[in-house]
Amino acid sequence: MNATLRRTPLYERHVAVGARLVPFAGWEMPVQYEGVIPEHVAVRTAAGAFDVSHMGQLHVDGPATESFLQSVLSNDVTRLSDGEAQYTLLTNDQGGVVDDLIVYRLESGSYLLVVNAGNREAAYAWLKEREARGTEVRDASDEYALVAVQGPHALERLDLPEAPAFTHAMGEVDGLEVMVCRTGYTGERGVELMCPEDDGPALWDAVLARGVTPCGLGARDTLRLEVCYPLHGQDLTTETDAISAGLGWACALETEFTGVDGLRRVKAEGPASRLAAFVMEERAIPRYGMSIEGGGEVTSGTHSPCLDVGIGMGYVPAADATPGTELVVDVRGRPRRGRIVRKPIYRKE
């Protein structure tokens, strides 16, 4: 069964240190090394490294690329200058989310889209089908390794200068040329380092040699959920719209893009349900798919290592989505109380 799973350029490294490997979105990925909780804490207090080479890289190039991307992505791509990046959504005709991604402007007419591993084919096919004259979409995912280094000490450990979030530049780590992206999925300061696939293992070794803790997808999930970053396939799907998901800030509704009419309507009328964050007040861990009393559903749930309680996000009727509202989650037949909170669930002191 595992024969069909893909492996990143760092696979041998993970095996060598005894990482626990699991299937994830068609890839065999490390879910943890020492343990989810110590890895989570390392990222919140020092620095952690994640192999995210399974994510997809789509190059979109050509003189018509800016207008093409503007027509398919929710955010305003014309606001980007060279060296800047933006969180944005690939939307369908109904305003549902095909994928959420980061678009990097490399130079005029040249963009890089980093998409979710599980949506790489769907995002590529979606874009390729709509590709206009004067622009070309190319799936370059197999050419790159991607290592996220996150945490309050990440830059210091890597000897990298400070830079604003959502910018990128070429840089160097121990002689290896990397694209240094000021992006991440943990709520901490840090970078995502992209390099040619063949340099991946050397980059990983260099990062770890600088005292950065290797972290698996388990900690990546708890970290992102504490700061309420949505996960596509759970919190966002082709059936959920960006406004209800609380991603109106990533939708430039004054521009014209696929599904914008539907989103304008939801915005004007107000969503029927909203993606709300909550914290359990009774001892229980909410999980994906559990129902919420009053007609809601948990789309992400875990135990928060920082808060030491069950936390989650889920769609609830808009009237019940106000912070402070009590909610009841059906935890395998047991009703357990929680409370809606303002996002993010976890804030640095």
Binding site: R20, V31, Q32, G35, V36, I37, G218, D221, T222, R283, A284, I285, R287, T302, H303, P305, D308, G310, R332, R334
Partner: protein
């Protein structure tokens, strides 16, 4: 702690142990089970007085990533729940046969004990996993 399956316990193939003490038994999960689950963050214990049935689930343990039923190696009535394991589930990882026990039961059928694996048989069972 390192992998260990003490000689004074009897084992269920679903990775549960029982320490039989006369008409009572203390139950818990094995080193193998806690290692497979990872760091435990929740122990959903049964009520005192609840009936547990051999081979049936009587509790749940959860790691950050997953929830798992705990299967009763023996039948009986719950006399006591380990509140320390409820309050500090990581105790189950740290000391699965000692401070990390789960419940104490009064046996309803002491004859069931003979159907459990002895340590040697359980070690062989784990080696096959």
């Amino acid at each position: 702690m390192a992998e260990e399956y003490p000689d004074d316990l009897r084992y269920h193939p679903e990775h549960d142990w029982a320490r039989v003490e006369g008409e009572e038994a203390v139950l818990g999960i094995t080193w193998y089970a806690q290692d497979a689950l990872g760091e435990l963050v929740h122990y959903e214990a049964p009520e005192v007085g609840a009936t547990v049935t051999k081979d049936g689930p009587y509790a749940e343990v959860e790691s950050v990533k997953a929830v798992s039923d705990v299967v009763a190696p023996l039948s009986g009535e719950v006399l006591e729940v380990n509140e320390k394991a409820v309050d500090e589930p990581e105790t189950i990882n740290a000391d699965p046969y000692g401070e990390g026990w789960l419940v104490r039961i009064r046996l309803s059928d002491a004859g069931e004990v003979d159907s459990l694996l002895d340590p040697e048989a359980y070690r062989a069972h784990v080696a096959d996993q």
